[in-house]
C-alpha cells in the first residue's frame, strides 16, 4: 500500500503550487543559459521559406525535381539557406494560405505569383524591388512583352519563369471518327463551331472552353476579346468594355454552349486539365495552354493529339494570351535582400547556369516558352522541334501578355463571362452593365497601373 503511494504520489494543492513555482522559476532562470542564446542565434539563421505549389508526387515529377535542384544548388553556394514549402494548389491559387499568412505577418520570404495576383501584392507593399539584383544586359534579355506586367515605374518586381501561350488541342482519334483530318483544322470561329458540331456525339463534346469562374477563365477569354480589337480599358484609364468586340467575344462562348457543342461542366481539376478532359475522350478539342504538352507526355503517353492556333473572328487578327508565373520576394521578409538575390540568381543572372535553368524548366520541367531570349537559344533543338516547336513557330508569335488587374476588375469581367456563357444573359446588355461598373471602379482606383 505504502509502495503504491510512493509510486503515485497524491497531488495536493500545496504540491501543485510548489511544482508550478519551480517550473516558472526554471523558465525565468533559463533565460541566462547559453542554450537559449544559441536558440536566438539559430532563429536568425533559419532558412528562408519558398512557397510554391509543385508538390512532391504531383502530376509531373520533373517539375518538383527542378525546384528541388534549384534550391539545392543555391544552398550549396550561399550562407543564407532556403527551404521549399509545398502548398497544395487549391490552397495556393485563390485559396486562403497566402492571404492569411500575409495578414498575420507570416508571409513566405519567396513565392510565385501570376499576373492576375501582381497588383494585389504590389499595392499591398510586399513585393521587393528586384532591379538592384539584375544587371542591365540581363534585364534586356527579357522581351518587353514578357516583363512589362511585372514592372512598375521601370523597376522589376517579379521575374517570370515561363511564358504560356494558349492554343487549341485536338484528339486525332476523335477527328478520325468524325471523318476529319488535320486539313479540317478550323481557322475561324464559325469553322470551329461547325467542326465541333461534327465531333459532338452523345458521349462527347466537340469543343471546350473553361466554365468555372476564376482568374483562369478570364485569362482564357482575353484572346477572344482582343482578336476583334476589344480592350477592357482605354489608354487614359477608362472602360472600353462596351464595344462590338466584347459583345462578339461573349456571344461566341455563349453560342458554343447554346448549340450544345461545348460542355457547361468540365472534368478533373478544371479547364487547364488536358488529361481529364481531352485525353479521357470527354471533349474532342480543348482550349488550353502550352503546359498541356508536358501533362499529356507524363500522363497520357499514347494519346495522339495535335495543336492549332486560336481561330479568328470575321475581320479579326490572330492573337493569343501568354500567362506564366514569376518568382517574387517578400519586401517585409526576414532577409529580403537574400530573397531578392535568390530570385535573380535563379532566373535572371548572366551566368550560364541561370540561363540553362530557365531553359530546363521550359523544356523538361513544364513545356513552356522561355521568358529570356538567351534561354530560347540555349534550349536549341527543343524549341524548334516536336509540339513545342509548333508552339514556337505558329502559336507563340501572336502572344500578348496576360493583363494584370485588381480583384475588382477581375470580378466584373468574370461575372460578365459567366452571365453570358452559362446564365443566358444578353451579351450587349451585359457588356454595357459591366462597362458602367468598370468605369465606377476605375475612376477611384489608386494603385500601380492596370495593364
Amino acid at each position: 500500500m505504502s509502495d503504491k503511494k510512493k509510486a503515485f504520489p497524491t497531488l495536493t494543492r500545496r504540491g501543485l503550487l510548489k511544482g508550478g513555482a519551480a517550473v516558472a522559476g526554471g523558465i525565468v532562470g533559463l533565460g541566462g543559459f547559453p542554450y537559449i542564446n544559441r536558440l536566438a542565434v539559430r532563429a536568425q539563421e533559419t532558412p528562408l521559406k519558398f512557397w510554391q505549389f509543385y508538390a512532391p508526387g504531383g502530376p509531373v515529377a520533373s517539375q518538383v525535381e527542378w525546384f528541388e535542384k534549384t534550391v539545392a544548388d543555391w544552398n550549396d553556394s550561399h550562407p543564407q539557406k532556403i527551404e521549399l514549402e509545398f502548398i497544395p494548389n487549391s490552397e495556393y491559387i485563390s485559396g486562403p494560405k497566402l492571404a492569411t499568412a500575409f495578414a498575420s505577418g507570416e508571409g513566405p520570404d519567396i513565392f510565385i505569383i501570376s499576373p492576375g495576383d501582381f497588383l494585389r501584392y504590389y499595392n499591398g507593399g510586399v513585393l521587393k524591388d528586384l532591379t538592384p539584383f539584375i544587371d542591365e544586359a540581363t534585364r534586356a534579355d527579357f522581351p518587353e512583352s514578357v516583363i512589362a506586367n511585372r514592372m512598375v515605374d521601370g523597376k522589376v518586381f517579379g521575374i517570370p519563369m515561363e511564358v504560356e501561350p494558349m492554343a487549341m488541342y485536338y484528339s486525332v482519334k476523335a477527328f478520325e471518327e468524325a471523318g476529319l483530318n488535320e486539313n479540317d483544322v478550323p481557322k475561324t470561329w464559325e469553322e470551329l463551331l461547325e467542326v465541333a458540331k461534327k465531333l459532338t456525339t452523345p458521349e462527347r463534346f466537340g469543343v471546350m472552353f473553361e466554365t468555372q469562374p476564376g482568374y483562369y477563365q478570364n485569362f482564357t477569354w482575353y484572346p477572344f476579346l482582343w482578336q476583334g480589337g476589344g480592350e477592357f480599358q482605354t489608354a487614359d484609364g477608362k472602360s472600353s468594355f462596351d464595344s462590338p468586340a466584347t459583345v462578339q467575344a461573349l456571344k461566341f462562348w455563349q453560342d458554343a454552349i447554346n448549340s450544345g457543342v461545348a460542355p457547361r461542366q468540365i472534368m478533373g481539376a478544371g479547364g487547364h486539365d488536358t488529361i481529364a478532359n481531352l485525353a479521357s475522350g470527354y471533349v474532342a478539342m480543348q482550349n488550353v495552354g502550352i503546359w498541356g504538352i508536358s501533362q499529356l507526355q507524363s500522363n497520357a503517353k499514347d494519346f495522339q493529339y495535335g495543336v492549332f492556333r486560336l481561330p479568328t473572328p470575321p475581320n479579326g487578327k490572330y492573337v493569343t494570351v501568354g500567362g506564366g508565373w514569376a518568382f517574387v520576394a517578400n519586401a517585409k521578409g526576414r532577409n529580403s535582400d537574400a530573397a531578392g538575390e535568390f530570385c535573380a540568381w535563379a532566373l535572371a543572372s548572366k551566368e550560364q547556369g541561370s540561363i540553362d535553368r530557365v531553359a530546363t524548366w521550359c523544356t523538361k520541367g513544364k513545356s513552356d516558352m522561355p521568358p529570356r531570349n538567351s534561354a530560347l537559344k540555349a534550349g536549341g533543338e527543343a524549341f524548334s522541334s516536336g509540339m513545342i516547336g509548333t508552339f514556337a513557330k505558329e502559336i507563340h508569335p501572336g502572344t500578348r501578355a496576360e493583363p494584370r488587374v485588381p480583384p475588382e476588375v477581375y470580378k466584373i469581367i468574370s461575372d460578365a463571362i459567366q452571365q453570358t456563357q452559362l446564365g443566358g444573359a444578353d451579351p450587349q446588355a451585359t457588356a454595357t452593365a459591366a462597362s458602367q461598373q468598370l468605369d465606377a471602379f476605375l475612376s477611384s482606383y489608386q494603385g500601380a497601373p492596370i495593364l
Binding site: 485563390s94 485559396g95 486562403p96 492571404a99 492569411t100 500575409f102 495578414a103 505577418g105 494585389r120 501584392y121 499595392n123 499591398g124 507593399g125 510586399v126 452523345p202 458521349e203 462527347r204 463534346f205 466554365t211 468555372q212 469562374p213 476564376g214 460542355p263 457547361r264 461542366q265 472534368m267 470527354y282 517585409k332 480583384p407 475588382e408 470580378k411 461575372d415 459567366q418 452571365q419 456563357q421 452559362l422 446564365g423 443566358g424 444573359a425
Partner: protein, 314 residues
C-alpha cells in the same frame, strides 16, 4: 466560558452554513459550465468581437488598416452581389431544411425497429456522413457531369435528361441542396431515432385498440410528441443552412459559386472577398450582418415554437 478560538470556529461554521442549498447548486452549476464558457469566450466570443471591430476598417491584408466607419456596411447595401448572395442563401435554406426534415424523419421511421436488417440499413444511411465533404463533392461532381456522369445517364434514360446539373443556373443550386441532403440525412435520422424511442409504446397500443391506422398514429401521436426533436432538427439545420456550414465545402469544390453566381451563398462571397480579394474589412462587415440575421431568425423561430416545449395547458 468560551475561548476566542471557539468563537472564531463558530463564526466560520456559521459562515459556511449561510449559503443555502440553492446557492450551492447555483455555484456548482456555473463551475461545471465554466470550462465550456471560457472556451466559447476565447474561441467564439473574442473572434466575433474582433470581426465586428474589423468591419469598420478598410484592411488590405498586408498590415494596412484605416478606419472607415460605416463605409463597408454602405458598400454592402449597394452591392448587388451581396443581395444575390443573400437571396441564394435564403433559397438554399428554404429548400434544404424541409427536405432534410422529411428525409431524416422518413429514414428514422423506416429503420426504427431494432432488428439486424435495420441496424445494417442505419449504418448505410449514416455512412455518407463519415466521408469528408470534399470527397463527397468530388464524387458527386463526377457522377453528375454532363452526358457521361452516371446520374446524367440515368436521368437521360428516364427521359428527363439533357440538362446540366452543375452548369445550368436553374439546376445548380437544387443539385447542391440534394447532395447536402444526401450527406446530412443520416445524421438527422439518428436524432429522430432518439426522439422516436422517447415516445412511450403504450400510446401506440392504446391508439391501435381504438382502431387508429398508421397515418393517424403518425399524425396524432408521433408528430406531436416529436416536437422537441423537430425543434432541434429544424433549428440546427436552419442555422447550418444560413451560415453555410456544410454548403461552403460542397459549393467551393463543385461550382466555385457558379454558374453565373447561382450557387454563391453569402459565405462563399464572404470567403471570396476575404481570401480571394484581401478585402478583410468588407468580409467582416458581411459576416457581422450574417450573424445578426442568424440571431433574428433563431429568435423568431424560438418565439414561434416556444423553444419546442410541449404546451401542457392543452
Amino acid at each position: 466560558m468560551t475561548t476566542i478560538a471557539e468563537t472564531a470556529a463558530r463564526r466560520r461554521h456559521a459562515g459556511r452554513t449561510r449559503l443555502s442549498a440553492k446557492h450551492r447548486e447555483w455555484i456548482a452549476g456555473y463551475l461545471f459550465v465554466l470550462p465550456d464558457a471560457l472556451g466559447l469566450l476565447v474561441f467564439l466570443g473574442v473572434p466575433m468581437a474582433l470581426s465586428l471591430a474589423l468591419s469598420v476598417f478598410e484592411v488590405n491584408g498586408f498590415g494596412g488598416y484605416s478606419f472607415v466607419g460605416a463605409k463597408n456596411y454602405l458598400r454592402m447595401w449597394n452591392d448587388p452581389l451581396f443581395w444575390k448572395g443573400a437571396k441564394v442563401t435564403a433559397l438554399y435554406a428554404v429548400m434544404l431544411v424541409p427536405l432534410l426534415y422529411a428525409c431524416g424523419l422518413g429514414l428514422a421511421l423506416l429503420v426504427q425497429r431494432t432488428d439486424r436488417f435495420n441496424t445494417v440499413m442505419r449504418s448505410m444511411f449514416f455512412a455518407p456522413h463519415m466521408v469528408s465533404l470534399v470527397v463527397v463533392a468530388l464524387v458527386w461532381q463526377f457522377m453528375v457531369v454532363d452526358k457521361i456522369g452516371v446520374v446524367s445517364r440515368l436521368t437521360a434514360a428516364l427521359g428527363i435528361g439533357g440538362f446540366s446539373f452543375l452548369g445550368d443556373p436553374n439546376f445548380a443550386l437544387i443539385t447542391i441542396v440534394l447532395v447536402s441532403v444526401w450527406f446530412l440525412m443520416g445524421f438527422y435520422m439518428l436524432i429522430f431515432l432518439g426522439g422516436l424511442q422517447d415516445i412511450p409504446r403504450q400510446y401506440y397500443e392504446a391508439a391501435m385498440i381504438d382502431g387508429a391506422g398508421a397515418i393517424a398514429r403518425f399524425w396524432f401521436i408521433t408528430l406531436p410528441l416529436l416536437k422537441p426533436t423537430s425543434f432541434f432538427v429544424i433549428m440546427v439545420s436552419m442555422v447550418a443552412a444560413v451560415a453555410g456550414a456544410q454548403a461552403f465545402d460542397i459549393i467551393y469544390v463543385m461550382t466555385k459559386g457558379g454558374p453565373a453566381n447561382a450557387t454563391a451563398v453569402l459565405i462563399v462571397y464572404i470567403y471570396q472577398q476575404a481570401f480571394g480579394f484581401g478585402a478583410f474589412g468588407y468580409a467582416a462587415a458581411m459576416a457581422s450582418i450574417l450573424v445578426v440575421a442568424l440571431m433574428i431568425v433563431t429568435a423568431v423561430f424560438f418565439a414561434l415554437t416556444r423553444g419546442g416545449r410541449f404546451n401542457h395547458e392543452q
